[in-house]
């Protein structure tokens, strides 16, 4: 089962190894009540300890396939299933320090059935999450 929190404790880690840390990964579950075509995803923003990482810099991994923001937007067939967590790969030379971090993820979808003036719908979650090594 997935963790209740949108930002999962599992999957929060540095990418790359040792001195070669290239960034970090954070795993989220969908806050929406259904899976969607990925071109309904309007963007994602990641913040760690006050540093913001914009949507265009982030690579998504869903069920083993990688997607840039453009890939998500352009695909006619790609989906983000409701119960498949997504891993967000965030570039940050050196990675994050071992210890507890304040992490925020803001995720937006375009909802076709809600007036366009009220778009997109954005879900925001924050938590403390730990880099173990």
């Amino acid at each position: 089962m997935l963790e209740q929190a949108m930002i999962q404790a599992k999957g929060f880690r540095n990418a790359g190894s040792g001195e070669e840390r290239t960034g970090f990964e954070v795993r989220i579950r969908s806050p929406y009540y259904r899976g969607t075509w990925t071109n309904l995803i309007d963007g994602v923003r990641v913040e760690v300890d006050g540093e913001t990482f914009p949507s265009e810099s982030i690579v998504w991994s869903i069920e083993g396939t990688d997607y840039t923001a453009g890939d998500l937007r352009d695909s006619e067939t790609a989906r983000w299933p409701l119960t498949a967590p997504a891993t967000l790969r965030v570039p940050k030379p050196g990675g994050l320090s071992v210890g507890i971090h304040d992490v925020t993820v803001a995720l937006s979808f375009r909802m076709s059935y809600i007036p366009v003036e009220l778009q997109p719908q954005t879900w925001t979650a924050s938590r403390k999450a730990t880099i173990v090594r």
């Binding site: 209740q4 806050p31 309904l40 076709s112 003036e117």
Partner: protein, 304 residues
């Protein structure tokens, strides 16, 4: 006098949004629905089908075995016409038709009798994208062949006396179809608006600068009488039933009066839409069904 109401009680898996994939899987939800005495199960195609839209044979077999074991009837399959998939253009009739065809075929393979396309809107007051009528009409023969009724959802803040409902009724009139009808979400009759909480999540529509929706006038339950002949399905939307078994948001006694009076024998499919706290849906669904079962026999009795 029977204590079972004339209509049938089901539950939509939407109710378990705070639980699904977190504390309950599909089997847990279905078992909960059967345990609370409901006999109908409603799903969201894009929500609850593993691998949508490419269903494995194993998943389909598992689904049929599950509902058979629990004595559940698949009722309604929720689908979407996502008219905003592209930033630079809207959905074409062809795209919409293909999407609805896909969902009707999947619903049919899983034994459902109703498909609800949630239709994208084009105005601030929720007028559906004009492609809807041609998309539906192009699928009417298929729906008929598959014994499926297509039913758009009348959902708050759309009211029963609205252009959308008039247009849906006009399609029935024009085509004479029996494969299309109205789905009433009982949230239409809400007496006040429930502000849902969800632990650990903030949700915002747009920039947050304009109010999400103006508060529409309360829709009189009486308006339901005018369209009951074309109602094929109810989503029994509710938000909170308190410790005294009272729902302060949805006027169940009045709704059940109209339903009983009409002789409706279709589904009332519960849609819990209160606070998304794990396990709360299971508890609230039992309260709602206890409330409906308590109210219904006296309503039916009053008519006898």
């Amino acid at each position: 006098m029977s204590t079972e109401p004339a209509f049938k009680l089901g539950v939509s898996l939407y109710s378990y949004t705070g639980d699904f994939g977190v504390v309950m899987d599909l089997e847990d939800c279905a078992e909960d629905i059967a345990d609370l005495g409901a006999t109908g199960i409603e799903i969201l195609g894009e929500g609850h089908i593993l691998g949508y839209p490419e269903l494995s044979t194993a998943w389909i077999d598992g689904w049929h075995a599950l509902v058979e074991r629990l004595g559940l009837t698949p009722t309604l399959y929720g689908s979407w016409l996502d008219t905003r998939r592209h930033l630079d253009r809207s959905m074409t009739v062809e795209e919409g038709t293909a999407q609805l065809t896909l969902d009707i075929e999947l619903a049919s393979r899983l034994g459902f009798s109703f498909v609800r396309p949630k239709i994208g809107v084009v105005t601030g007051d929720l007028v559906p994208d004009p492609i809807w009528s041609e998309v539906v009409e192009r699928n009417l023969d298929l729906a008929h062949d598959r014994n499926i009724v297509i039913c758009p959802e009348i959902h708050w803040p759309t009211s029963i006396r609205s252009q959308a409902v008039d247009d849906y009724l006009a399609l029935i009139e024009r085509t004479g179809t029996t494969s299309f009808g109205l789905l009433i979400d009982t949230g239409v009759f809400q007496l006040s608006h429930h502000r849902r909480t969800e632990p650990g999540l903030r949700s915002q529509l747009g920039t947050g600068d304009i109010p999400a929706f103006p508060t529409p006038p309360v829709v009189p339950v009486n308006d339901l009488r005018d369209v009951m002949d074309q109602v094929v399905y109810f989503q029994a939307k509710f938000h909170e039933i308190d410790d005294q078994l009272v729902d302060r948001y949805i006027p169940w006694a009045e709704i059940l009066d109209v339903v009983a009076e009409s002789g409706y024998t279709g589904w009332l499919s519960s849609e819990y839409e209160g606070d998304r706290i794990p396990y709360r849906a299971s508890d609230q669904l039992r309260r709602q069904h206890a409330l409906i079962r308590t109210l219904a026999p006296s309503r039916v009795g009053a008519l006898a």
